[in-house]
Point group: C2
Chain length 591, copies 2
Amino acid sequence: MYRSHNCGELRISNAGQEVTLAGWVQRARKLGGMTFVDLRDRYGITQLVVEATADAALVETASSLGREYVIQVKGKVVERQSKNPKMETGDIEIIVSAINILNKSVTPPFTIEENSDGGEDLRAKYRYLDLRRPPLQKALALRHRLAQEIRTYLDQQGFMEIETPYLIKSTPEGARDFVVPSRMNPGQFYALPQSPQTFKQLLMVAGYDRYFQIVRCFRDEDLRADRQPEFTRIDCEMSFVEQEDVLNTFEGMMRQMFKNAVGVDIPNPIPRMSWYDAMDFYGSDKPDIRFDMKIHEITSVAQGHGFSVFDSCEYVGAIAATGCAEYTRKEIDALTEWVKRPQVGAKGLVYIKCNADGTYKSSVDKFYTPEEVKAMADAAEAKAGDLVLILCGGRRKAQTMLGVLRIEMGNRLGYRDPKVFAPLWIVDFPLFEWDDETNRFYAMHHPFTAPKPEHLDWYYSDKKEDLERVCANAYDFVLNGTELGGGSIRIHEAAMQERMFEILGITKEDADYKFGFIINAFKFGAPPHGGLAFGFDRVCALFGGQETIRDYIAFPKNNQGRDVMIDSPSAIDQVQMDELMIVSTAQNTEE
Amino acid sequence: MYRSHNCGELRISNAGQEVTLAGWVQRARKLGGMTFVDLRDRYGITQLVVEATADAALVETASSLGREYVIQVKGKVVERQSKNPKMETGDIEIIVSAINILNKSVTPPFTIEENSDGGEDLRAKYRYLDLRRPPLQKALALRHRLAQEIRTYLDQQGFMEIETPYLIKSTPEGARDFVVPSRMNPGQFYALPQSPQTFKQLLMVAGYDRYFQIVRCFRDEDLRADRQPEFTRIDCEMSFVEQEDVLNTFEGMMRQMFKNAVGVDIPNPIPRMSWYDAMDFYGSDKPDIRFDMKIHEITSVAQGHGFSVFDSCEYVGAIAATGCAEYTRKEIDALTEWVKRPQVGAKGLVYIKCNADGTYKSSVDKFYTPEEVKAMADAAEAKAGDLVLILCGGRRKAQTMLGVLRIEMGNRLGYRDPKVFAPLWIVDFPLFEWDDETNRFYAMHHPFTAPKPEHLDWYYSDKKEDLERVCANAYDFVLNGTELGGGSIRIHEAAMQERMFEILGITKEDADYKFGFIINAFKFGAPPHGGLAFGFDRVCALFGGQETIRDYIAFPKNNQGRDVMIDSPSAIDQVQMDELMIVSTAQNTEE
């Protein structure tokens, strides 16, 4: 070993010891003939001192040290005169007796500190230097810790981690599959999995009872902000379970992860909310319940007073923004413009200021008496000092817009502290969505999701209104307004599956073509089963109190799916193309 | 939950309890009006009894049960009259009060028992049924347990598991890379990693200090028996370490894996053997040391007696096959033919029978006096009753042939019990191999492997004989004659790396083209580092006492790289080809 201790572990109790350390020079500075060096490794920073009275060669070596040099030093631990309480090793320093330069460094293109002076592109190109910065080291350490906690918990619960293949088959529905030409089978392709869904269900058919995998998945789609072409899932499936069993199992996992990796106790039990309540009160299927500010329907009090905008709408809804009654005209105008942007899509914004003195001021005062305005504010559960914000339209559309506005107001009011964790299960999703354009039902999740057992009569009914109210045995795990995972109990009975295809208008031929392989496997004794999957990259980011996942992935790709560090993807040799028997038409296209 | 207990846990202490079980019907048989059902799940088998006196509908249902039906039963645990000591639940049975058929099964194409009657191809096609058999369930359970042990141990040792990308860049040396066309970057390709070598070294540059990953790797090569196009590695790297630190760390890992997953105590310390000794005494760089039967050089006693075959050879070597002196002429002839096959490549085989009465009988008696024959037998450390087998030729070639013969004799003598574990480190490999044809040195491992520190004078010497004796800071982990893993201390100094390229005849331009990216990263302060990787599939197989890895992979591919279960690889839609801007020329080629 090149060291007796790492750079994060020496304390006052080590004073007097002779130690050997190794690491990177964070910085070196001269002060009155002495040289102070901050030596850094993954574990921390330790201050080194080369005294003015030291051997001339040693002083000379110390003077030559540049940023990011890799050195090994021997020396004695001493108590510091001026302690640094911000550093874990801040009580001590090392009086250096020898320095061995293990490797020099050219000057790095940006500073390697808590906050770097490097731009995003430069840091991406030199990712291996950016990864030296403490925030990224902490991010990857958290990721490792979370993965360990997940595996420990699931192992204790009798789950087996089983590796499923990465070279699989492109499916008829797999338009966004990455494909891999096979040299040994010319003209044929593997596909990279978008998820191990088929394999995990096969493992249930095969009797593995409780399966999990922390597994890479791939999707060749146009990348939205913060999406990656390869991403990691916590993928799980259980046999002989009902929805309640799945929720309890993974609630336990989340509790253990929060407790052991972040030191946070989350609510026990984790609250559950029906999809309908989530839409009605939060305008979102992934509500942020760190703050209240619920959406209130005020249709009945808002309508019938001659304000045609409201009177002509299916739905009028409101939120009460706490303490915002003092908003200026200018601020409210800006907010109105904000909700009218296409990203929100409102036609306008009605407000009611609930003044501290008990009076009200609204943008629709000419249509409503003060009592009627008060009634609307009361319906929104506004208190003195609040600003009521009202939108209207089709029910779900208006609720969704109010949901977006609610999040914006939550941000402005500082209600969305990333260090506060408010997990939530969303349950009771509708099984089907009716589409007016194509005049048919679609599966809200996928066509293998089972209906709730208590809704089976509706499921087998021929009436549209019955089918519309069938709930799915499905669930999402939501944290702080982000969906971290979800899953369902799967259909395992042939008759129920046939009914599903019938409702969705999928013919037997279609079903056989698209899902024949798995339907066939199910004929050999499929057990009742269900599962779920979490997006691990996002789990890590949220647990770390961040919104973006990129810092939680060691070597991420950019928005064009490129790894700018290794410059990939790239052209390949003609020889290789020939061996794979493929020709690229991209050149021709560009001409 | 569909069950109160699983099928493997009920014991005599549960007698009298009302329980609910769920699982698969292993078999159902009538016996004097009673129906006996073996109910199976991952955890075991429990015997169910439907009594002749039970409710008629229940008896009827029990009679209707077919193999692999999925059922849920309620009943009472009772002590068995005739206990079955071979089953863990053999002391009890369940008197069934209710059966709920959860799913029927069509008749499976082969028996799902310890040993199936299905052929290999059929079982591969219905892998999800084959996976129900206990040996495969045990194999995957062992794999899970080993992965858990590895992660727990390495976590305790301060290693972080860091996920490296799967969509990387094809390298100039990557002729066997699988490539992935990028839709968003037409004409460009990602490559799937053959190993995360570059990334793990970058993580050391980035200061992660101790990295590991259980990671999938890919190689598009012609598949030899028991190779897979995708395979799993335990991939590890450490900073600020010397060879001794790496060996000790992973020796500890192996010890814990053997202890906790297999219940075996392996030798402490694990023996180490130089590559030279392995070749001299075992004719292999991965010796099976479960048995002795070492190779002995007998050149000096064999030569100079007029037997021109020996006299004209560089080397004469022998092994003493324990207790084989009774081999008949026919048996020895067969063995002679065996060593003359091209797979071994010997020109002939000389033997000496060491008879029980102290006399000797050899195939070269006319060239040697009895004393000279005895001298050869003594040199081979043969005892009375042994059969000395002698081969000659160039030193390493003859040793290798003797090594193959030694393994064959070990097999015949039953010395290679797969439940006996003899681990071994091979160290002190030559750093370079001289090739007479091209008249130059090649790297025995790869051009980033560091020389042993004590051989640096030879490393910088210009003399061929000095360079030939430079040993590498490299090591292999060998178990029972199979190499399970290996690694090296890497070169981290620019000057040492340049010298390596110089010795290997790699120009600066070549080096920049092939390795430029990593060489550049190393300029920013690369720490001393080294690591190793284990082939996890083979680790699992050997720990399970098997030679073949396929049972230890849930969904393996066949020798043509095909997954016959999902029928992959396969042709893809023209639409998809068009989007990816690639054209297959395979059709044209076939015409």
